[in-house]
């Protein structure tokens, strides 16, 4: 009996990446012929993209011409051999194209269920079935073949100098010798084809997570590309995602898309009325708008964005709304607090909708409520993103100004010797009420006992004293910022990281609490003492955190500079490797022999 066919949807995407200046990947997404393929070209000058594009065209044309006449496995083998012969011929004809080649991973769908996958090189095919990701192809690299033959361990392979050197590619020889596998797709399966620019810059876990999302292939392919770019984007990256049948949509999502979205939209008057009642027009962000405009432009747009996001199970509309709102407000020099208050006002207005919905359908109200809170989380992420973007710009300015001043003061100094502590400004602590004489005396007594408990070991001993000083007079010379600097200074040299400072604060607090338990006495006074100690500890922890964050900033900026420099050096190495290949070939032809070197990959 023939299994029923599955509706296949597919989408492919490619990106040049963050380091290279042109894209040497190519792809085929042809639903009509059931043909999907990724090619990753290699070779000096423009030869890489030439090889990939040439192979793509040959494979595409070959399958269109012969699909009806040939058996699928033989068809793909023949198509890839034809592509290899074409690229090889091209490389032989032109001197500056010697050594060019391309990888290929090709999937041919037959009868909407059966798929034949052929590959040459290290572009890969993965299958996601029931949430589990399986790599279908084995890389054709020298090292992978040594591992497969048992000549090399997987651990040694990881660090092998030739781990990226291909043992097979299209173009090195007139015939390609592809590996071919066949599989039957099941409903919900996802097949992914990709170049090494994806899996080289994204973990398998992350790929599995994104492929397993309920988003369609178009979104998943784009998210996979973004994942590789966030992971460094050191190479061209290409991904094609094929989905066999629709994944089962969770019931709650179905309810949200239909009843939830409608329930929200049909109560938009409740949302707008509540926003008006809560005074949206009085928000500083709406200062230039009339009351009706404030309601319409701010609350109305958010209401619509939430509706569209509920309907499509996405967050992109609320994200865009919040991002635009934040950019507009911050561009005017606005602070974060009024924006947070406006979001709180809108969230409270949304709660009025779910409260009303509860009386009609409690189950639906809970689902809609969770989805709306999720929408406000999305808004927080968008605002946080805008703030972070601005933070990076200000940090870069700060480092530039600071470096310029420092360089002007001492041209011979090195970054490693630059003191970081003077770079940090003290935070201004609020002046609390002074401690009463009884509380001061009690604190002093407790401090003596706490000192006895922790002994002389740094930095716990200093943390006990710092807590006492901050609890007694958290201003002037005992301000948390200054005390944090002192604590930072007593950190033992052999200790790495800042965890010991926080540990020391915890040890000191425990010692105070133990002393308090032993002392007993008036509960009201004990509460007053503990409040001061707790406040002092929170201030000190925050000051230490700020100190470390600020101290790390110059290093982070230098690290970014170093990464840019590394990328430039990599390009230089790539160019020199191409020259070296040319020289090796010239030498081989003069000596009458063929070069016996494995094909080189770009760095």
């Amino acid at each position: 009996m023939t299994a029923p066919s599955l509706k296949l949807t597919a989408h492919g995407d490619t990106n040049v990446g963050k380091v290279r200046d042109h894209n040497e990947d190519a792809l085929i997404v042809d639903a009509k012929w059931g043909l999907y393929a990724v090619f990753d070209g290699m070779g000096g000058a423009a030869a890489g993209d030439l090889a990939a594009n040439r192979a793509r065209d040959v494979v595409h044309e070959y399958v269109r011409a012969k699909k009806k006449a040939m058996e699928p496995r033989a068809l793909l083998e023949a198509a890839l051999n034809a592509a290899s012969a074409a690229v090889h011929g091209e490389a032989q004809r032109t001197r500056d194209r010697h050594g060019m080649g391309t990888t290929a991973v090709v999937a041919l769908v037959i009868e909407e269920r059966r798929v034949v996958v052929a590959h040459v090189g290290d572009s890969r095919a993965y299958l996601l079935r029931e949430g589990r990701l399986t790599q279908l192809t084995r890389d054709h690299t020298v090292v992978a073949e040594l591992v497969a033959n048992g000549a090399l361990s997987t651990v040694d392979a990881e660090n092998h100098a030739y781990k990226n050197v291909l043992s097979r590619n299209l173009g090195a020889r007139p015939d390609a010798k592809p590996d071919v596998i066949e599989l039957d797709l099941a409903p919900g399966d996802r097949l992914m084809l990709c170049s090494d620019g994806l899996y080289g810059y994204a973990s398998t876990d992350a790929i599995q997570y994104l492929l397993g999302s309920t988003d369609g292939p178009q979104h998943v392919a784009r998210d996979l590309i973004d994942l590789a770019l966030r992971g460094g984007g050191g190479d061209n990256v290409t991904a094609i995602v094929l989905e066999a049948g629709a994944q089962a949509v969770p019931r709650a999502t179905q309810v949200l898309r239909t009843s939830g979205a409608i329930a929200w939209w049909s109560r938009r008057a409740v949302f707008l009325g509540e926003a008006k009642r809560r005074g949206i027009a009085q928000s500083p962000i709406c200062a230039v708008l009339s009351a009706d405009e404030a309601l319409d432009i701010v609350a109305g747009n958010l209401c619509e964005a939430i509706f569209h996001d509920l309907e499509k199970s996405t967050g992109v509309n609320v994200w865009t709304f919040a991002e635009n709102l934040a950019h507009g407000w911050f561009d005017q020099g606005g602070a974060w607090q009024p924006l947070a208050e406006l979001l709180d006002l809108l969230a409270a207005s949304a709660r009025a909708v779910t409260s009303e919905l509860t009386s009609d359908d409690e189950g639906l109200a809970l689902i809609v409520d969770a989805a709306i809170v999720r929408a406000f989380i999305t808004a927080e992420m968008a605002v946080g993103g805008v703030l972070s973007e601005r933070l990076r710009v200000v940090e870069a300015d700060l480092v530039r100004v600071h470096s310029a001043r420092h360089a002007a003061a001492d041209q011979s100094s090195r970054f490693a010797e630059t003191p970081t502590i003077p770079y940090v400004s003290a935070t201004r602590a609020a002046t609390p009420d002074p401690a009463s004489p009884e509380v001061r005396a009690h604190l002093q007594t407790l401090a003596q006992q706490a000192r006895a408990q922790v002994g002389q070991k740094a930095p716990a001993r200093q943390a006990v004293d710092a807590l006492l000083r901050a609890a007694l007079e958290p201003v002037g010379t005992a301000s948390p910022a200054l005390l944090a600097r002192e604590l930072f200074g007593v950190r033992p040299l052999e200790e790495s990281g800042i965890a010991p400072l926080f540990d020391a604060l915890d040890i000191a607090r425990s010692a105070y609490v133990a002393a308090m338990r032993r002392a007993g006495g008036d509960p009201a006074q004990a509460i007053a003492v503990m409040r001061r100690l707790a406040g002092a500890q929170a201030d000190l922890a925050a000051a230490i955190a700020n100190l470390v964050v600020e101290a790390a900033t110059p290093a982070t900026e230098r690290l970014r500079d170093a990464m840019r420099e590394t990328a430039s050096l990599r390009s230089e190495v790539g160019r020199n490797e191409a020259k070296l290949i040319d020289l090796e070939k010239k030498y081989a032809s003069k000596s009458g022999g063929r070069p016996q070197l494995p094909p080189r990959r770009r760095v």
Partner: protein, 148 residues
């Protein structure tokens, strides 16, 4: 903000499954977790969940706020920006919600638990955004100080 000891007790029973899943997908949470081995990642994720459960129980965000400040500083020492932390806590919230939905019987009680949990995630995200805003304000002040 949430104050739901009953939910916290139910959630405590789900923590092992949540932790297992978070450790399994740690690379997709953010780059900081991707670099950690299983034991380190588990320890850090356990800390985050523990403070979030504390917040779910008491409704008091002081401890969660204090922890996030320290944690932000620890991550900064690894060169991770505050936006990474924002993405990480949101992803942790999403994964946790999935596990609650997966491992709890469908019904009003699970829906209430999900509703409480997304509010914890929202508050956590807000605290991180607040930290970023404070950091930006501090940096702007420093820049003005240096330039003047």
């Amino acid at each position: 903000m949430p104050s739901a000891p009953g939910h916290a007790a139910v959630f405590a029973g789900l923590v092992p499954a949540v932790l297992d899943r978070l450790v399994e997908v740690r690379s997709s949470l953010d780059h900081g977790f991707a670099r950690l081995d299983e034991a380190q990642a588990r320890a850090q994720l356990e800390q985050i969940l523990s403070h979030q459960v504390g917040f779910l129980t008491s409704g008091d965000s002081t401890s969660l706020r204090g922890f996030l400040r320290s944690y932000r500083a620890l991550r900064a020492a690894d060169g991770l920006g505050p936006e990474n932390l924002l993405h990480a806590v949101t992803a942790i919230g999403d994964v946790t919600t999935q596990i609650i939905q997966r491992d709890s019987p469908s019904g009003a009680r699970t829906a209430e638990l999900v509703s409480s949990w997304v509010r914890v995630s929202w508050s956590t995200a807000r605290i991180v955004v607040e930290m970023i805003a404070e950091e930006l304000a501090g940096r702007v002040a420093q820049l003005q100080e240096l330039e003047s």
